[in-house]
């Protein structure tokens, strides 16, 4: 069984300041890792993913996340946030076995950008 922990339920940040949203996971097998973003009253959009290769992955809108196997973490960072980054962010894991690609989500972190 897998689990995902997002320690911060809410993170307020001033505009143009850096932010880190924390994600830790637990699994007895190798996993793939994802960050999804949910803007108000919308569905989930994939922000970035780690499947293999470089442990640092980036999105097109300036977010990055680093897979740390020893610490079982996949924290999300952005060096300078914008008002439009206000959203709910979900970390998720999927085990690498084919035929069972269900996502296990964390409880989400609400990122609020303060002008």
């Amino acid at each position: 069984a897998q689990s995902v922990t997002q320690l911060d339920s809410q993170v307020p940040v001033f505009e143009e300041a850096p932010v880190e949203l924390r994600c830790n996971y637990s699994s007895s097998v190798s996993v793939y890792l994802f960050w999804y973003v949910q803007y108000p009253n919308q569905g989930l959009q994939l922000l970035l993913k780690y499947l293999s290769g470089s442990t640092l992955v980036e999105s097109i809108n300036g977010f990055e996340a680093e897979f740390n196997k020893s610490q079982t973490s996949f924290h999300l960072r952005k060096p300078s946030v914008h008002i439009s980054d206000t959203a709910e962010y979900f970390c998720a894991v999927s085990d690498q076995g084919f035929g069972n690609e269900k996502l296990t989500f964390g409880t989400g972190t609400r990122l609020t950008i303060i002008p």
Partner: protein, 110 residues
């Protein structure tokens, strides 16, 4: 050019009624899912279908019955609705490990 679509977007109904939510994907994916997001925003998988066959059933009450008429559609029928069924239901599809989500259906049971 919507990838994953759901209807209706909002559904308000009385306890005890039966209702259905429809999902369609035009991505050519083999696998489709239903997730439930509760009032605290927690997302949990309910079902997964691969090529019209049930793959995952996460101990959902049998009042919930998914149906996949073809691999582009996965509908969710709910019998005898209860207050606790109020939530946002998301459909998703995938080919591999990246899942694409629909816009959600907000179900309110009165």
């Amino acid at each position: 050019d919507t990838a994953v679509s759901q209807t209706p977007k909002y559904l308000v109904t009385q306890m005890g009624n039966d209702k259905s939510i429809k999902c369609e994907q035009n991505l050519g994916h083999d696998t489709m899912y239903w997730y439930k997001q509760d009032s605290k925003k927690f997302l949990k998988i309910m079902f997964s279908y691969n090529n019209k066959e049930l793959i995952i059933n996460e101990t959902v009450p049998n009042r919930f019955s998914p149906k996949s008429p073809d691999k582009a559609h996965l509908n969710l029928h709910i019998n005898s609705l209860e207050l606790g069924d109020s939530a946002v239901y998301f459909c998703a599809s995938s080919q591999g490990f990246e899942q694409f989500f629909g816009p959600g259906t907000r179900l309110t049971v009165l």
